[in-house]
């Protein structure tokens, strides 16, 4: 059976940039606490700066995250954001700006569980 795709997701997929970041992080080796920290900051920054009528640029997200994380160098935050886009947690649609994907929320829940099990094992 053919995969049913909605026109919406089709358009999104077509429009989405999947540029390979200049610095690809080894996502699997990243500490789960750091992952949670990053994802929470990401969701917070996007929530905070999303205005319905305006598109949210990557730059704004980087700036907001850098500020909220305690003035972390923007270049470093940008590497993370690029990797988050690459990993599909957020997508950047030309003309529509940054949009968060459900994957970010579901992974956060997974990370919570992982942290819990890790603690239990200890």
């Amino acid at each position: 059976m053919d995969k049913i795709t909605t026109p919406h997701s089709l358009t999104l997929n077509n429009l989405t940039k999947h540029n390979k970041p200049a610095y690809i992080l080894d996502w699997l080796s990243i500490n789960i606490h750091l992952k949670k920290f990053l994802l929470l900051h990401l969701t917070e920054a996007i929530d905070e700066y999303s205005v319905p009528s305006m598109s949210l640029s990557k730059d704004t997200v980087v700036k907001a995250m850098s500020l909220n994380m305690g003035h972390i160098v923007k270049a470093q935050v940008e590497i993370f954001v690029d990797n988050l886009i690459y990993k599909g947690y957020i997508i950047e649609i030309p003309g529509h700006g940054i949009k968060i994907q459900d994957k970010a929320y579901s992974d956060l829940r997974k990370l919570d569980k992982l942290i819990y099990y890790q603690r239990m094992v200890k």
């Binding site: 606490h33 929470l40 917070e44 929320y105 829940r109 919570d112 569980k113 603690r119």
Partner: protein
Amino acid sequence: MPEENIEGILEGDPNNKWPSGDENFDKENPMAMLPKRLDVIPFFRNKPVKILQDGFSVFFREINGLEYWITEKKLPGSYMVQWLEIEGSKKARFHRKLTNKNGLDVDNNKRDQKLVKYLHEHSGISREEINYFLEDVGVFIGDHRNDILPKKDLENEKESAKTQENEINGLPEKRKNELKKILERPDLLSYIDRAFYERSTSSGFIIGEVESKHVLNFNCIGARLGISTINTLKGESSIGKTNTANVVTGIHRTKKVGSLSDTALKYSEDWNLIDILYIQETLEDEFKNKQARLMSADDGGFIAETTIKNLKTGRFEIQKETIPVKTIVTTTTAIEIDPEFSTRNFIIPVDDSEEQTKRILRENFKTTEKKLQEIRGESLFDYKYEALRQAFQLLKPYTVLIPYEKELYEIFPTKNPRARRDSKKLMQLIKESALLFQYQRCKGQINGQDILVASWVDLGHAIILGGPILEATLTGFDKRLIDALPIVYEIIEDKGYVTSNELQIELGKSSKYAWQILKFFADNNYIYHDHATKIKNSVKGRTKVFIKSGSKEYKSLLLAIRTIKWPRIKEKEEEFIKKQILNSSYNVGDVIHLPHYESRVVNKVVYTPTPINSKEFRIYITKEHMPFKNSNKNKENLMGKSRYSKNSKCIKTIPGVEIDYKNITILEKSIFTQLADLKDHTRESIVEELKSRYNLDEILLTLKDMSERGWIK
């Protein structure tokens, strides 16, 4: 009644029976009936007692053509006694009046000694003779008091009923005990807070304004018990200054006047019945008036000078009258107060923060609810206010001793001469707090004098409540400047100089802002432009290079207070009591009630008992930066250090809890983000981090909510 008449009628036989005894007397003549009161005018030392409108004068003796009389006047709640010196028809009082609860017929050693001293020094009459006379007078008045005192008319009676001592004496014992219980409450400040809040809809109320209302109230208490101050409530118009002043002074003996004019003050006759002079609005120019300056606590009295026309010579003469020092309360919108005046004055900034506006607005939209409660009799509005008004009348004057005075020496900057006056103000506040809490402090007698020992709690009150006000009074700095000064000094220490560029980078603000700050400090001689340093460091262009000036070094009072060793202060107090107050069973308490804002209670402020040794109290004093309040929006900040201290345990997310991150609020997200941080967080630190982005109450409520849902612990 004019004296001549008394003398005229009483010439000859004082026996009032003569008209009826005279057979030739025409009984139809209306003059036959003499006023009844004269019937009983007695003689003392062969001279008739002079009946005055509200008292009498009794003859003592004559020396070198001068007659000495003693006069006693009945005032509501007290008696005034003074000597009179009469030369022919000219009367002269030669010493100030002594007020006493009892008249001359009741023994009072202190008063009598003073009377003897005054007359002895003035006239040379031997002390024994005067003493004997006073005894004699006492017995005489005791026997004749009903005859020589005019009957009070009803109106006077009503008035006197209003005055304090009568009122307090007239209260049943049970009520007095109730009032004492109020004064014995360790959380008396909380009671005062509620009393100022729970007012009926028609009367003003105070919500928030923790420091302002308590400091003003402390000073009003001081006014009653002999410590005078000037208090200026400063702030923009229609911000609630008058309301604050009205509510606080309403609980004390206050006289409202329109302006500070010589004549108005001079011709006020009720000086003895009031403690506080409330001038409703003072304009900028009026601060420069001399009379206002003279009334400060240090200068002891106010001299009113008025020009009067001498009817005999036809010339104008200046008449001087000394008015006793009174505590002044006034409000002003003036931005700049004459510096000379401002140092002598408690400048009480009224809270103009957004949080305060919210609180007031919420209250203002509750009038219908309040009115309904009032009509239904559900709430006893004004009950606490009235109880407090009566309770304050139970407070007695004491000599307050501060056992830890020496420890305070170090916290005042010696380089700033203003500290001289300011240190006095801190002492005043400590004393006033002790007087207010006198039912909870150690009392004793040293050499016959009643004394009260100030506690470390009083220092706590003076610093926590009065600190921001003293700071504002002392420096005229606002919060921005207070924040910037340590940074400026730090840059100078690091680099040897500071320019607006460096400050701008450090502050993260615009260059104009940095320049304004540097200019203020340069204008006030904290720093100065040094050309040599500029050349030495090869700074180019028009940039000004500032270095520290040696003359002034600002030392923030509140920052210095961090260094206070509280347990040491408490020890000092204990030692003092042990040494000075023999057989005292008094135990020094170790809890202070610290105010903090709490949105869930009606009056928005709760007073949490905080032990001296507790971590919470240490947090308050060891914080890196102690925010302070000037006239601006930092009231919340001031309380910030103590507010969360109660719950300053570590906050963590509960492991294993499933959270739907997609559907939580942004604030909840922010809190989770903070908790995902690697460092440990307390409620306090979370609020600190988020308060720039969210409303304080919102953060607290969300935290509470999250903990109730089992997300955090």
